[in-house]
């Protein structure tokens, strides 16, 4: 085993209580950072699942010719964002309305001489294209086509979903970055204390001809080990916390059963811990002057 690894492990053991505290603190920081990132991932997942029911309705003019209708249908089918297209004739629309009103309210339609409803296309969109900008662009291009009277889509609903997802993403990422910086700071403080405690030894090493990296190496390894262990603890806590959360709340709100902690995120925690630990150690030691 190399001198640096041996020194790092021996120092970790010698200062086990302060290092344990550092590991646990980093673990808490990384756990909370992981939850923030999981919130971002899950909000995107929930948001992308909701608009699968989202549809866009293209109302046709009363005088739209069969050629117009065919042209519109072909245009829709060849459009990438369009998942499916269903033509609803004015008769079918009336039939649907009657069915919807049922016997109780059927009298509402008794005075009609002619069918006032317009023929339309019910267009379902692919979820990856259900964004305000792309839907607006599609609606605008459809409106210019011959035979199209108007285009309706859930603008308010779509905008709200986008805003919520955007807000959750921004807040989650900011929180994630802040907590990761917190983990770096915890490692920085712990290594700084250890560095001061060993200042006499470091001075001796330098006088014997040690380079800056020779002095830094054990501290970087200590930071990496602390971060790795903190990351493992955070990963275990993530799985545990999600199990408890879903078994407690998931039953009451079925939507939440879709929530999960991505395994890649948990697997990345020890790696993030190692990087945060080494970064903290590097900042703590700084430039070692001979």
């Amino acid at each position: 085993m190399s001198y640096h690894v041996k020194t790092a492990l021996s120092d970790l053991w010698k200062e086990k209580w302060i290092n344990l505290l550092g590991c646990l603190s980093m673990g808490v920081g990384l756990f909370m950072a992981a939850l923030a990132l999981a919130a971002v991932i899950n909000s995107n997942r929930v948001a992308s699942a909701l608009p699968e029911r989202f549809s866009l309705t293209v109302f046709l003019k009363q005088d739209a010719t069969p050629a117009d209708i065919a042209q519109i249908q072909n245009a829709l089918r060849s459009d990438k964002p369009v998942k499916s297209v269903a033509f609803i004739s004015s008769d079918k629309a009336l039939a649907n309305l009657k069915e919807g009103l049922g016997n109780k309210y059927s009298y509402l339609l008794e005075g009609l001489d002619s069918n006032p409803l317009q023929a339309s296309f019910d267009v379902k969109l692919r979820k990856e294209y259900v964004r305000t900008v792309s839907v607006k662009a599609l609606a605008a291009s459809l409106k210019t086509m011959s035979g199209v009277d108007s285009v309706n889509y859930g603008k308010g609903f779509l905008d709200t979903i986008q805003k919520v997802v955007h807000a959750v993403s921004e807040a989650g990422l900011a929180l994630f970055a802040g907590l990761l910086a917190g983990a770096v700071f915890i490692c920085y403080s712990t290594i700084k204390i250890l560095f001061y405690r060993k200042s006499d030894e470091i001075e001796t090493l330098k006088l014997l001809g040690a380079t800056g990296w020779f002095v830094r190496a054990p501290f970087l390894l200590e930071g990496a080990v602390m971060g790795f262990l903190g990351g493992l603890a955070a990963g275990a806590a993530c799985f545990g916390a999600f199990d408890v959360f879903l078994s407690g709340v998931g039953g009451a709100l079925p939507l939440l059963t879709n929530l999960s902690i991505p395994p890649a995120l948990v697997a990345g925690l020890p790696v993030a811990g190692v990087l945060a630990g080494m970064a903290g150690a590097l900042i703590a030691i700084g430039r070692v002057r001979p």
Binding site: L207, L208, G209, P290
Partner: protein, 224 residues
């Protein structure tokens, strides 16, 4: 090997060395002596670049170290073995580990480190104490560990700061014979001491420092 040219150094405005010049030839064993506070330790620190002079030039093996880059200082120090006045032993490491440290810093492989450390400890008579920690050793033994650490890497120059301070005459004589043996192998040695018995009648060069005056620090070279 060591050349000081009009070197001056002060601490907080108090001049310690003023216009100091002297030189030590390659392969010499020389002494630096003078009263406490005359600047002996300062001279050694200037040599291994723990301090920088305010004026003058210091040459080590022909290189002016006053203009040395920070990144080259470790390499300069690796060419020098230092016996510190306060030992600077790492108390959490064994005798073996303390001596091995000088070799690990120089990047030697473990097999060579083990062989060299044991050979050096044998030379200073401490092979049987290789697994002991410094605190379990007497002052003389600790001093010999420091000497072992300084010579293990076979540096071209060895600096010793009061190597026999607080030691009984018998132990001091043992340490001096170690230095003579190392010097006989070719290393240049400069020993800072105020112990007259070390250099008296030794036949070696002695640099006697008188404290700085307006006329400058006086170094008187004599063959004892």
């Amino acid at each position: 090997m060591i050349k000081f040219e009009s070197v001056s150094k002060s601490y907080d405005g108090n001049m310690v060395l003023n216009d100091l010049s002297f030189h030590v030839e390659k392969g010499e064993l020389a002494f630096l002596t003078g009263p406490s506070g005359a600047g002996k330790t300062t001279i050694l620190k200037l040599i291994y670049h723990a301090l920088a002079p305010e004026a003058g030039a210091i040459y080590i093996n022909g290189q002016n170290t006053c203009f040395i880059k920070h990144s080259d200082i470790p390499w300069l120090r690796r060419a020098i073995g230092i016996v510190f006045q306060d030992f600077r032993l790492l108390l959490t490491k064994t005798v073996f580990e303390n001596v091995a440290l000088a070799l690990r810093i120089r990047g030697l492989d473990e097999r060579e480190i083990k062989a060299r450390v044991m050979e050096t400890l044998k030379m200073v008579g401490l092979r049987h104490k290789s697994d002991n920690f410094p605190q379990a050793l007497s002052g003389g033994e600790q001093q010999r560990v420091v000497i072992a650490r300084a010579i293990a890497a076979e540096p071209m120059l060895i600096l010793a700061d009061e190597p026999t301070g607080n030691l009984d005459p018998e132990t001091a004589a043992g340490i001096m014979s170690s230095f003579k043996e190392i010097n006989a192998r070719g290393a240049t040695i400069l020993i800072a001491t105020h112990n007259r018995d070390l250099y008296h009648n030794s036949g070696r060069k002695v640099f006697r420092i008188a404290s700085g005056t307006a006329a400058g620090t006086v170094v008187r070279q004599e063959e004892s």
